[in-house]
Structure formats: structure tokens, C-alpha cells
Point group: C2
Chain length 283, copies 2
């Protein structure tokens, strides 16, 4: 009977293993999905800031205009990396966790429990027979055979399922290690790239000197148009003469997919260029 | 009359300057506030993941348990830096932008317009007098004096306001440079610290070897309790013998303030420790 009890405790270990995996990995999955969604929303907000910076740049004096455009471009680059982060988290972290529906294992455990129940039933039957008709050798012998068969079945099934649960546990441990390593790597790439881009943005902003722009302002005030490349202080669209067009930012934003709630319409002309840019970031 | 026109165009430059500052800086402010709020929400989601990792760690084999706890601790550290980022953005970026209510300047421009209107009115009056009563020397002389006074007033007011708007513009350019430099610096600190913390997390995760945990699993399966520090595979609370307590994470979460929507209750015991930790990050 102690073998039966031992099998019973093995089943409990198996059940706990599967239950914990189901429960916690499912929660990891939804929490990491929420984390990723919020990250995508940070990217959206930053994209709008990029657009606003570009609009404002167009109303500003030449040096501030150039500085703000460069800053907007850097900020957009960080959002491209954030977009890459979001996509990688979906592919390498959330998707693998979604696969952890351990339901098939649960069915196998249920089956094992039935096998074990049968063993106990046969044992009880044999016990009863031995009490009631101790001299009925044939029936007792048949019952003993049934018990043996049921025991063999239970032993075999427990052993086989034990091996499978162990393999499941091994895969789970290895997968978790890999998934969290991927998470950390994805985050590290974003943060490292952001440090790089922001370092360059810092330089640009620091090099800005308001003095030359104030000359421009004074020239405007006293009607000396034509001084440097002074422009009227009104909203204008980004000049097509500018080598890189920041109007592309809004196009990219739209390109990033259907999850966006409140985004500008796509500017098809910028699409191809940005696709290329997006790809480069994913390598 | 060309002086009057020139003054008129100066007023337009002033108006554009103030209008653009009001419009765009106000938008920067609300967009950066939205960006900051979303960042705070990323932090909230990551905090929940930290809690979940800790809960799950308690159901796991010894090595995975230690690995997950260490990972959770690193993830919590990144959130502390994110919290510092949020607070710094509020203090050094959003608040200074909020101060850009350029309304007082607008009132001054309105006053200047009235002064200029008066000049035009006096000029028109003089013109009419010269047509109607060209011989009325005294009245014409009085009107000429009025025009001179109005012109002097308009010239003086335009000049003075021009200086003030120039000072405003200078301050705006310098402030924008400073605000965006602060933004970039704050972001850089977060990203640099995150790279540092995640590098250590990567090491911990990489060093994990599932083999020893599988021994623990097999021992549990075969009822060999007492093997290593095997524990039943059920949820338990974090052992108080553990030198650092991750239950503090939820306490910290609550500490971070009123903006949170859905957070755990405060564990007062961990408060003091975490305040110290928070402070260290802000230096």
C-alpha cells in the first residue's frame, strides 16, 4: 500500500508542477503584454512630440530651427528603437509564453488518476474477497491477477508520465531562462541605442548659441529681410530643400501598425524610405 | 507714414513671437506630460511583473528561485530609475514649460496697438484740418503737436516693447535649450543606468543551470525530501531568512505616489529602507 501512497504523492508533485506553470506563465504573459503595450504608448507620445518639434522648428529662427530638427530626428530614432523593442518583445517574449497552455499535461494527469483509482479499487476488491470467501482460491487468484495488472498499469503510467512531466519541467526551466534572457537583451539594446542617440542629441543642443538667432530676430523686427536666411515667424511646411524630411515621422508612425489609436494619416511618399530605415534597426 | 507702417510690421513680428511661444510651448508641455504619464505606466506594469516574478520564485526549485529573485530585484531597480526619470521630467521639463503663459506680453501688445491707433488717428485729424482749413494756423499747429506727441509715444512704446519681446525671445531660446538639454540628460541617465542593471541581470540569468533544479524535481517526485533545500511546489511567502526582502517592492510601488491606479497596499516595515533607496537614486 505504501507504493500506492508514494504514487499518490508523485501525482500531487506533477499536478503542482503543471498548475504552477499554467498559472504563473500565463500571468507573465499578460503582464509582459501590458508592459509592451504601455511601451508602445510611450513611443506614440514621443512620436507626437517629434511632430510638434518639427512644426515648431518651422516657426523658429535658423539656428534654433536646425537644432530642433536635429533633436526631433534623434528623438524619432529612439522611437524607432522602441518600436523594434516592442516587436521583439512580442516575438521573443510574449509569443513563447503564450504557447504554455499546459492543458494536454492536465489531461494526462487526469488519466493517470483514473489508472491509480482502478488499482485501489482492485486492491479493495481483493481485500473484500479475502475476508468474505478466504477459501475461494480461484476467485482470489483472479482478483490477485487483476490487482497485479492494475498495479503494473499504474506503475507504468506513473513512471511514463513522471518522465514526461520532468521533460516538461526541464523545458519550462530552460524556456524561462531563454525568455528572460531575451527580455533583458531586448531591453539592453533599446537602452544602449538610446544612450548613443541621446549623446549626439545632447551635443547638438549644447552647441546651440541663441545670439545669432537674436540677430535674426532683430533683423525681422527692423524689417531687414534677406538678412541670413530670415523667414517670417509664421507656421510654414517643412521646405522640400531640406535634405531629410521630418514630415516622414508621421508616416512612420502610421506604418507601425494597427495598435495605434490616434495617429496621423500616412504619407505614402515617405513610406519606402522609412521601411528601409525600420529594417535596418531590426538587424 | 512709412515709419507708421514699419511700426505696424514690428508689432506683427512681436505678436507672432508671442503667439508661437504660447501655442507651441503649451503643446510641448502637454505632450511631455503625456509622455511622462505613459512612462509612469510602464513603471507600474513592470512593478507588477516584479511582484509576479517574486511570487513565482517562491514556487520554484532553489536555483531558479534565486535566479528569479535576483532578476526581479534588478527589474525593480530599473523601475526605481524610471521613477526618478518621471520625477525629474516633472520638475525640470514640465514645470518650466508650464510657466510659459505669455499672457502678460499679450496685454502689453494690446496696449501698444492702442498707442499706434492713436498716432494714426492724430495723423488723420491733421490731414483733415489741412484740407478743410489750410489757413487756420493755430489749430493746425496744435494738431501737429498732437501728432508729434502721439508719434513720440508710439515710437517710445514700440521701442520699449520691442526690447522686452527681444528679452522674452532670448529667454525663450535659452530656456528651450536648457529644457531640452535637461530632457536629454534625464533620459540618458535612465538608459545608462538600465544598461548597467540589465547587464548584471543578464549574467545572473545566463549562469543559471537547470540541471541542479531537475535533481531537486526528481527528489520531490520520489519523495526524497530533505535533499538540498527542496521545498514543496506550492506557493509560500518569501522566507524572512532571505537577506533582502522582495516584499518591499509592493511597498515601494505604493510609496511612489498618488498617480497610481491599481496598486497593492503599503507594507510599512519596508518603507524606511525604500525611502533611503529612492533618495540614493535621485542624487
Amino acid at each position: 500500500m505504501s507504493v500506492v501512497l508514494s504514487r499518490d504523492s508523485q501525482v500531487r508533485v506533477m499536478e503542482d508542477t503543471v498548475t504552477n506553470a499554467e498559472k504563473h506563465l500565463g500571468q507573465f504573459c499578460s503582464m509582459l503584454a501590458a508592459y509592451t503595450r504601455k511601451t508602445a504608448q510611450v513611443r506614440d507620445k514621443a512620436d507626437r512630440l517629434v511632430k510638434q518639434l518639427t512644426d515648431f522648428a518651422n516657426t523658429e529662427h535658423p539656428d534654433m530651427r536646425a537644432t530642433l530638427r536635429s533633436f526631433a530626428e534623434d528623438l524619432a530614432k529612439v522611437q524607432d528603437y522602441r518600436q523594434a523593442e516592442v516587436e521583439r518583445l512580442e516575438t521573443k517574449v510574449i509569443s513563447p509564453l503564450q504557447l504554455y497552455g499546459a492543458h494536454t499535461k492536465r489531461a494526462e494527469i487526469k488519466k493517470l488518476k483514473q489508472v491509480q483509482k482502478n488499482e485501489i479499487k482492485q486492491l479493495a476488491k481483493l481485500g473484500k474477497l479475502r475476508q468474505k470467501s478466504p477459501s475461494d482460491r480461484l476467485t482470489i487468484s483472479q482478483a490477485e491477477t487483476s490487482v497485479q495488472r492494475a498495479s503494473a498499469d499504474a506503475s507504468h503510467t506513473t513512471h511514463r508520465l513522471g518522465e514526461r512531466i520532468e521533460a516538461f519541467q526541464k523545458r519550462k526551466l530552460t524556456d524561462l531562462q531563454k525568455i528572460f534572457l531575451d527580455f533583458v537583451t531586448i531591453e539592453m539594446v533599446l537602452h544602449a541605442k538610446a544612450v548613443e542617440v541621446y549623446s549626439s542629441a545632447f551635443q547638438t543642443l549644447e552647441n546651440y548659441d541663441p545670439e545669432r538667432d537674436l540677430e535674426d530676430f532683430r533683423a525681422k523686427m527692423h524689417g531687414l529681410y534677406g538678412h541670413r536666411d530670415a523667414r517670417p515667424l509664421t507656421d510654414t511646411v517643412s521646405s522640400p530643400a531640406v535634405p531629410w524630411s521630418l514630415t516622414g515621422q508621421s508616416a512612420q508612425t502610421a506604418l507601425r501598425g494597427e495598435r495605434r489609436e490616434d495617429e496621423e494619416t500616412l504619407e505614402a511618399s515617405a513610406e519606402e524610405d522609412l521601411r528601409g530605415r525600420g529594417r535596418a534597426l531590426h538587424q
